[in-house]
Structure formats: structure tokens, C-alpha cells
């Protein structure tokens, strides 16, 4: 979700295999560099592999270009990487969030074969995506300060995952501003 010169990215913490919960502290949001994060929902193994490949590509980019990748560029990179596997895809829906030039927030999401969808307000993905659309649409307003943005995204996340049996077991929220990054773990319904 986009705020005023900041963004927030959040995920739930459950890892499950259909009805069986396997882990309650699974990390879905990964750091690419200080101002760029990617969240990967879907198949856990593909999420981890995709993150490893992207981190590798970004490190090479850093060595060659001697700077961090811009979020727009990174989004194109992810899109291309996913489309390479067009006929045997990674079963992941990434969410990319970063601060671009002049610390303007940038967010986008993709489907599992790399169709980019840019948004100005919020993006969602995962099994609870319909609920998230409804909750975020109702609760979002433009130009929120980091504290208010944290409240909003937490409430939207917790209400939505409470209506989805495959998501839950708390939440993990990252608020990124030009000067600092705040990580918070939410306690929600643990079921």
C-alpha cells in the first residue's frame, strides 16, 4: 500500500499444505535492497527459488552498475524472469514495492507468468486476494503518514485473512520511508 513518501508491505505468516499447517513463521516478504522489497505468495518452494534467483541477479547488477536497481527496472526483471517459464511457470504471484527516484513510492503486482499491473494505491495477491481487494478498497485513502498507513494495512490484512482458512497465524508488516524501515509482527487470530 502506498502512503505519503512511504509504502507498506505486509504478509501473513502461515505456511500450509492444503489443510495442514506446517509453519507459523514463514517469511514471504524479501529484501532486495534497502528501498526495494518483494512479496511472493503461492507455492513456497517457487517463492524461495525465485527470491534466490532475483537476489543473485540484483547482486550482479550492483557489481556491474555500482548502484541499486530502480523498482521499475526490477519489476521488468521479474516480469521477464517469469515469462521465460511461460509454459512451465513458477506458481507465484509477486508483489513488488520500492522507493524510486526522489523517493517516490512504486508498487506493482504480477500474475504467475509476468503480466505487470501497476497501481497507485494498493496491490494484493494470494488466496485471500478477493477479501483483500474489498478491505483495502474500503480502508485506503491517499497520502497517509507512516503510522496511519501501518494501522490501515494491518487492519485490512487481519480482517481479510480472518475470512480465509488458508491464511492467517498473524501478520508481518514492513513500513519503508526514505529514512528508516520499521518491521512489525502482528498477533491476529491464530487459526
Amino acid at each position: 500500500m502506498v502512503g505519503k513518501n512511504c509504502f507498506a508491505i505486509a504478509s501473513d505468516r502461515r505456511l500450509g499444505v492444503q489443510l495442514q499447517t506446517v509453519a507459523t513463521d514463514f517469511q514471504r516478504v524479501f529484501k532486495i535492497h534497502g528501498k526495494l522489497y518483494i512479496g511472493l505468495s503461492g507455492l513456497a518452494t517457487d517463492a524461495q527459488t525465485l527470491y534466490q534467483r532475483l537476489a543473485f541477479k540484483h547482486k550482479l547488477y550492483q557489481l556491474r552498475e555500482e548502484r541499486d536497481m530502480k523498482p521499475e527496472t526490477f519489476a521488468s526483471l521479474v516480469s521477464a524472469l517469469l515469462y521465460e517459464k511461460r509454459f512451465g511457470p513458477y506458481f507465484c504471484q509477486p508483489i513488488i514495492a520500492g522507493l524510486g527516484e526522489k523517493d517516490q513510492p512504486f508498487i506493482c503486482t504480477m500474475d504467475c507468468i509476468g503480466a505487470k499491473e501497476l497501481a497507485k494505491d494498493f496491490v494484493v495477491s494470494g488466496t485471500a486476494s478477493e477479501s483483500l481487494y474489498g478491505a483495502c478498497e474500503s480502508m485506503y485513502k491517499p497520502d497517509m503518514e507512516p503510522e496511519e498507513l501501518f494501522e490501515t494495512i494491518s487492519q485490512a490484512l487481519l480482517s481479510s485473512v480472518d475470512r480465509d482458512c488458508l491464511s492467517g497465524w498473524g501478520g508481518y508488516v514492513l513500513i519503508v520511508t526514505p529514512t528508516e524501515v520499521q518491521e512489525r509482527v502482528l498477533k491476529g487470530r491464530m487459526d
Binding site: 478477493e130 481487494y133 474489498g134 478491505a135 478498497e137 474500503s138 487492519q155 480482517s159 480472518d162 475470512r163
Partner: protein
């Protein structure tokens, strides 16, 4: 000559140039002749059709799968109800659609069954019309037999039984019953397609329900039905606040659901304690 005479009896040929359809590559529509075969093929496939978005109807009975016919259709729509201390708000959008087409923008999904009981249904409108007609007739019979109108809890039970009566060829209707109980408190009953129901403080059914329910959960924190002693599920919000909340959730659902639309107009008051909100699209 005889030939000329015959020619004069024939109808005049059209003056427009005849077009060779095969050369232009236009396919002729043989719709009705191949319809049964098409339906059979569709039934044997997963049920996904290229002409309409995938919907998830209840599974067909053995009789229906034998015929290979698909008798349901999803006309879309969303219904919401919120119960308050002395009021009940029941709202539904007004779009009727089939696949990606809109049939009408002004179709009400709400039916007033008794003076304190209102039903809103989304799903297959053919079944919904039949169901609402059935319930209205039963309510009339009750009126004649008992010399009073049906109460909301009584109608709730009747609806559940009516739906379960057709357990093996269900009404494709997702209902929300709203009204006032005998104490004058708001009550909302929420149903699935075969009659399982529960009295709750608020409910949303239909295509936009997954978008709306989390927001209602968040705003109308309802106590768990498992608490002992049982706590009231009705919301402490005032009537105007509840109406505003309903309008907001419909606006959000409209943004993201193609089957739900609303354009909030002024609210017509039909009854001091009951409020209908029809939200037509323009």
C-alpha cells in the same frame, strides 16, 4: 407462354447482390440445431465456457448429469444486511447480468415478505423469483390461518425448510433475510443454497460477498456465537451510520466486482423501522 406464366407466380428475387458466404469466410450460425450437442460437450468438459466467466454452481444431480444439461445460470449481484438495536438495513444492487452482458440495470433483488421481514437474494434469478413467490404464497396462507403476519424468525425457519425441500435439485439462490423479531430488535439470517442458516448481526451474500464481509467484520466487531453467556450480535451503531457503512461497502465492492454496481441515490423510506436501499447503476 407456359414458362412465363410460371415465372410470374414465383416471388420476385431480391435486388441486393448475393454474397458468397464461403468466400468471405463467414460462418453460418447453426445455433439451435447443435445446441443439445454443445450442452452435452460443455457438461462433459469441466464446465468452463469460453462465452461466459466461470461460475461455481452447485453440483448437478444424477438426473441432470444423465441429461447432460446445465440448468442454472448466475445472474450476479450482491446483498447485504445489518441488524441494529431497533432497525435492520437490507441492501442489494440492481444489476442483472448473464456472462459478460448486462440484461438490466434496474432489477431489484429485494422482496418484502411480511411487514417486518424482507428477503434479499442473489444467484439465479429464475429460481429466486420462484422461491420468493413460494414464500409470499405461504406467508399469505399463514395470514389467513393465524390472523397475523409471519414473524421474521418464523419466516427464517420456513425459508430454510423450503430450501432443504429441494436438497437434490436446489434453488440456486443465496439469501439474506432481514427484519425485526418479536421484541423489535433487528435480526439478520444468512443462508446457503440448501437451507443451512444462522442468525447473525450482519451478512453479505452474492458475488461481492468476499469483498464485503471482511470490512463488515472489521467495522461491526461481532462477538463469537460460542460465547457463554450468549452476547447480542446486533450492532450498537445508529441507523444512519449503518446506512452509511452499507453505502461505503457497496462502493468498494463496485470498484472490484463486475457483477455489482451502485450509484448511491437518496434513500426512500418505506417504513419507520425498516429501510430499503436500492442502489441502481447509471
Amino acid at each position: 407462354s407456359a414458362q412465363n406464366g410460371l415465372r410470374s407466380l414465383r416471388p420476385p428475387r431480391s435486388r441486393r447482390p448475393r454474397r458468397n458466404l464461403i468466400k468471405e469466410g463467414r460462418k453460418r450460425d447453426t445455433g439451435h440445431r447443435t445446441a443439445p450437442l454443445r450442452l452435452l460437450l460443455q457438461a462433459t468438459n469441466s464446465g468452463d465456457s469460453t462465452t461466459s466467466p466461470p461460475s461455481s454452481p452447485p453440483s448437478p444431480t444424477t438426473a441432470m448429469s444423465r441429461r447432460g444439461d446445465w440448468v442454472y445460470e448466475n445472474n450476479g449481484g450482491t446483498c447485504v444486511a445489518i441488524a441494529g438495536a431497533d432497525y435492520c438495513v437490507v441492501a442489494a444492487d440492481t444489476r442483472l447480468s448473464v456472462g459478460y452482458n448486462i440484461l438490466t440495470r434496474e432489477h431489484s433483488k429485494i422482496c418484502e415478505l411480511a411487514d417486518k421481514c424482507v428477503i434479499a437474494s442473489s444467484g439465479f434469478q429464475g429460481d429466486i423469483k420462484a422461491l420468493q413467490k413460494n414464500l409470499a404464497a405461504r406467508e399469505l396462507l399463514y395470514q389467513h390461518q393465524h390472523n397475523k403476519r409471519m414473524s421474521c424468525p418464523a419466516m427464517a425457519q420456513l425459508l430454510s425448510n423450503t430450501l432443504y425441500y429441494k436438497r437434490f435439485f436446489p434453488y440456486y439462490a443465496f439469501n439474506v433475510l432481514g427484519g425485526l423479531d418479536s421484541e423489535g430488535k433487528g435480526c439478520v439470517y444468512s443462508y446457503d443454497a440448501v437451507g443451512s442458516y444462522e442468525r447473525t448481526g450482519y451478512s453479505a451474500q452474492g458475488s461481492g460477498s468476499t469483498l464485503i464481509m471482511p470490512v463488515l467484520d472489521n467495522q461491526l466487531k461481532s462477538p463469537s456465537p460460542l460465547l457463554v453467556p450468549a452476547r447480542d450480535a446486533v450492532t450498537p451503531l445508529s441507523e444512519s451510520e449503518a446506512v452509511d457503512l452499507v453505502k461505503d461497502v457497496f462502493a468498494s465492492a463496485t470498484e472490484r466486482d463486475i457483477y455489482t454496481v451502485c450509484f448511491p441515490l437518496s434513500v426512500p423510506r418505506d417504513h419507520r423501522l425498516l429501510l430499503f436501499i436500492h442502489l441502481p447503476l447509471y
